[in-house]
């Protein structure tokens, strides 16, 4: 596999390829560098076979094997993104993990020398596909592409993700929506724990890390029980799933707060599907290290752009003769070269370039936000930083 050039220096440092045994010798995949004194926030370092990633980190989503509208050279060289997420569900259906494996693995197939994370497909099966049957053995679903019927078991999810070859892979979990009955939430936890055990048993990939997913809906007790079970089984990292599914934000924050003390301090914590700058800061405060969300890239393609004061919608008439950059202080390629008026024109004209330039800007914003969070933690001014950021930023 390829190693990295110096271009990751701000987001991650060069790592030689290490096997799982090497990591074991090192004692851990995660190093806790600093704990904030006024919150549960942590500064850390997550080692993967491709790069060492500084945390807290935001992972863009590259659903089908590319971050939408962005080539990997921009992602790496211009945006300094150390890791992004691909979807096993999508890649399994198209082009199929056997194609990716024959190409030499996902990194080589998509030409990416940073780290990759694949999710298990659980979330897509319960949201995007048409569910046929769920039982303790696994899930049967119809493909959203052609209606064909597929079985996904915990073992199969691991096999698919082994074939894809991402640095970090996820157990199959059962995600319930919001609101859901206590019974549904209990069942999802019970099943997810069974699946976690099976996943751990079959997992045997020297160059990958396996993360658990904690479920439990909006019930603190269920979350705590699920976290305890997952820690008992033992994983390389712990994700919080089934959040950011429509619940009020204060409720999500409360669930994170309740669960976090039951997760090991020496392992990374990953809040799935989050998110917005505000939610990320609030979750970092509560001890979360990793995030992923489609919104910065999806919003970009819809012309909704992130600035320090909040989102702006670039297709508004007021920008038609506004020749300033989106954000005059932003150092991204888009802001350094193009005006709001030109971006608006590209969106109005339906030009593909609109999607690329907007995606560059929104991801640059997220990368810089995470750099600023880490810098504030390093300098022990995180409380001040987060107050200042949140007072200037209007969530839209």
């Amino acid at each position: 596999m390829l190693c990295l050039s110096g271009s990751f220096s701000q987001g991650a440092v060069l790592a030689e390829e290490k096997t799982r045994e090497d990591w074991k010798k090192l004692g851990n995949n995660f190093e806790l560098l600093k704990k904030d004194r006024t919150s549960r926030a942590r500064l850390g370092r997550l080692a993967t076979p491709h790069v060492v990633i500084e945390t807290p980190v935001f992972m863009p989503v590259g659903t089908q094997g590319t971050v939408k509208a962005l080539a990997p050279d921009r992602l790496r060289e211009q945006l300094r993104v150390p890791i992004f997420l691909c979807n096993s569900y999508h890649l399994h259906l198209r082009p199929g993990e056997e194609v990716v494996q024959a190409a030499g693995g996902l990194h080589r197939f998509i030409s990416w020398d940073g780290a990759l994370l694949t999710d298990s497909g659980g979330f897509q099966v319960f949201s995007l596909a048409q569910l046929v049957k769920v039982d303790d053995k696994g899930v049967q679903f119809r493909s959203h592409l052609d209606g064909s019927v597929h079985n996904l078991t915990p073992k199969e999810a691991i096999r698919i993700q082994n074939s894809l070859g991402a640095d970090i892979i996820m157990i199959l979990d059962q995600c319930v929506g919001f609101p859901a009955s206590i019974f549904e939430q209990q069942e999802a936890v019970r099943r997810t724990v069974i699946w976690a055990k099976e996943s751990k048993e079959v997992f045997d990939s020297p160059s990958q890390q396996l993360f658990a997913i904690v479920q439990g809906g909006m019930e603190e007790e269920l979350r705590i029980n699920c976290a305890r079970e997952m820690v008992r089984i033992g994983f390389d990292g712990y994700a919080l799933g089934g959040l950011s599914v429509g619940e009020p934000k204060p409720l999500m924050y409360r669930i994170i707060e309740a669960t976090e003390p039951f997760l090991p301090v020496d392992k990374p914590r990953y809040l799935m599907g989050v998110g917005s700058p505000e939610s990320i800061i609030e979750a970092v405060k509560r001890g979360v290290d990793m995030f992923d969300c489609v919104l910065p890239t999806r919003n970009a393609r819809n012309g909704s752009l992130l600035t320090r004061r909040g989102k702006i919608n670039i297709d508004r008439k007021q920008f038609s003769q506004d020749f300033r950059p989106l954000d005059p202080d932003c150092r991204c390629y888009t802001c350094q070269n193009f005006s709001r008026a030109y971006l608006r024109h590209l969106f109005k004209a339906g030009e593909i370039l609109a999607a690329e330039l907007a995606t560059i800007h929104n991801l640059f914003f997220m990368v810089e936000l995470m750099e600023n969070i880490r810098q504030a933690l390093r300098e022990e001014v995180f409380e001040q930083f987060s107050q200042e950021f949140l007072s200037g930023y209007q969530e839209g």
Copy 2:
């Protein structure tokens, strides 16, 4: 205006900003460097306020103010494109030349420091818009966007193109399709000559060059008469319009052959809307210096990719596990980093990145073809080069 970095070195060399008066002092905008001994092919240099362009040159099309799916840094740094074409018709309707002018001109609006050419809008009015009325004064048409009625006169076409501020601008012409009656073709020539005179009279832009367009359908005598009239009026360059409109290729070549002797040797000749590698080589043989065509970029977005052996359609099943680059000898970003299987996957998955990577490849192919043509002319082996190229390339 911005000057160029060294990145244009292969396609063009750095030019200080010069006014029309400076060019006049230099004697001409075009320098003929070499004439081929076995054909009418020419090696030349076309000076513009932004760059000096080596000819023969292919100009990609950037209809609405961007080459589709490509940001200007790639176009300049990775593809070494010295000039591309924008459409006055499209930019007049959206965002409007007043917006572009307020931005500081087209170069600044779109962040492009190479050269630009705008066409007059004539071709779009006769092909894309709904024609209301044509007379000797000009054209009345309905916008293809909203049906609004607009008038385009020779003077208005110059005014719009002055406001846009491209390096090279075109007179308004009347284009007839194929086939067309002798009467239609005669009328189009008569009117285009009237319009050319009016265009020349009102043209007064120190930093722009004005090119004539020779019409005359498929009638050699009409073409020759039109060329003579245009040369009598006097322009900075001479385009052949109304070709590549559905006629057989041998007919087009015959028209070029018939017209070319009546064009001044010390001015650039531009064949509009061409084209394919084969047609470009045949037209270079017949004394043409400049080309533009949407096909390399439009085909790219449809998955039709240029190789030395001809076009291939990347979405074919046979490429699903073909892990070779599109063209193993190609040095473009796409071929250096991605396989046919990955490109096929991106097309099948409808990813925006497919359009970008395919466009990079097809334009790189065209740029390299033109570099090879110029190199062959420089080394006096053009006849041999064109034979070798055409025997290996199957037009599809």
